[in-house]
Amino acid sequence: MSFIDDDEALIATALNGSSYAWEKLVKRYEGRIYNYGLRLTGNATDAMDLMQEVFLGVYRNLHRFRGDAKFSSWIFRIAHNKAIDMNRRRALIQGRTFSIEDDENGEYLVPEQTTDNEPDTQLSKGQQNEEIQCMLQKLPMEQRLIVELKIYQSQTFEEISKMQEISENTAKTRFYAALKKLKVVMEESHVLS
């Protein structure tokens, strides 16, 4: 069984109808996609929806995967498109994007503050993530995407500019603008707490 271990082999086996190979492939990427969703959407329900849409897209297009790009970049390109689609749909249907609060009023609530009980200990993993999620939701979608790609997926500005169909300079400027904005958000939250 060790020979069906790289993505290409798993894809081929899955395309032959093996649900075992399909599940293995999904298991390999679901964590990354789900966490990507958490950071982009800011909540678990939307992240779950996004992840399921992504894998449905992967499933529907698996036969088109040619192997000239890495599967991981391919799947993240699908994820990227789905995230933008989803954000647009949300905006149209419910009048809300992933960012729940309007960021203009500068209101930033750190979830589940633990300052009373354990002031000096580090925040738990869940709280840390929630804080980061909240911070990211303060960014407009396009900036959030750049932060995601740059920080969490360690892409180069060249790769980002191709994916986003913007110039490399725009990508850099956007990234810097996003960090500046996040800096302000962080300072506000520290003032509040």
Partner: protein
């Protein structure tokens, strides 16, 4: 923050392909400019804050397996069909066992009755013969009916199974030529006929053996009658 170069400088500072020359230039400026140094520090803080993300576990979900199995009935279905293919044979075996079991019960019953007849002279011979005849007729009728029913049912099921199996195989490969499809069909058809013949033979044997039983019981009845007459 009032240094006019901050924005441009830091944007460059974070590029992937920062040249040695540019880097030295930026660092030289940082040494002299507090604004830019403070800005760089806080931006770096923000970045490290973001990097504190630790992946959350994915909640349980079905991983698209339901959909996958629906649309790729291939492997799983084949295994199930393998089972279905043998089900009729298993069923016929079970049916045979049941019939043999039934038969042995009735045989022991009549044996019981006959032995009573020999023990008690007052036992009605005609009644015994009548009962034996009735029993024989009934059994034959019942068995014929059952045989017919069973064969019909098996025919139906086998057809359904063959169809399903072929559908699954066909769906999976989608390249099956008409020729190999015909071969496959004739193979299954052959199998089905073989199964049916086997069952028919077994039933015929069963029916025959029941007739033998009936005959031996009649002989026994005659035997019971003669000692009765002699007395």
């Amino acid at each position: 923050m009032s240094c006019p170069r901050t924005q441009h400088l830091l944007t460059e500072y974070f590029s992937d392909d920062l040249s040695k020359v540019t880097q030295t230039e930026i660092e030289k400026h940082l040494l002299t400019c507090d604004d830019c140094t403070a800005e760089l520090e806080s931006i770096q803080n923000t970045q490290s804050r973001l990097r504190q993300w630790q992946d959350d576990r994915v909640p349980h979900w079905d991983r698209g397996k339901t959909l996958f199995r629906q649309e790729h009935p291939g492997n799983e279905q084949q295994r199930r069909n393998w089972f279905w293919q043998w089900l009729p044979s298993a069923a016929s075996f079970a049916m045979l066992c049941m019939l043999i079991f039934n038969t042995s019960i009735s045989r022991s019953e009549s044996g019981f009755t006959v032995s009573f007849g020999t023990a008690d002279d007052a036992f009605d011979k005609n009644h015994l013969e009548l009962r034996l005849a009735q029993f024989g007729e009934l059994q034959q009728l019942e068995q014929n009916q059952m045989l017919q029913d069973f064969l019909a049912r098996m025919d139906e099921r086998q057809d359904g199974n063959n169809l399903r199996l072929m559908q699954a195989v066909f769906d999976q490969t989608k390249q099956t030529t008409a020729e190999s499809f015909d071969q496959m069909y004739s193979y299954f058809e052959q199998r089905r006929q073989l199964d049916l013949e086997n069952v028919q033979v077994s039933y015929q044997q069963l029916v025959d053996s029941d007739f033998e039983t009936l005959m031996s019981m009649q002989q026994l009845a005659n035997y019971v009658r003669y000692p009765g007459d002699a007395r």
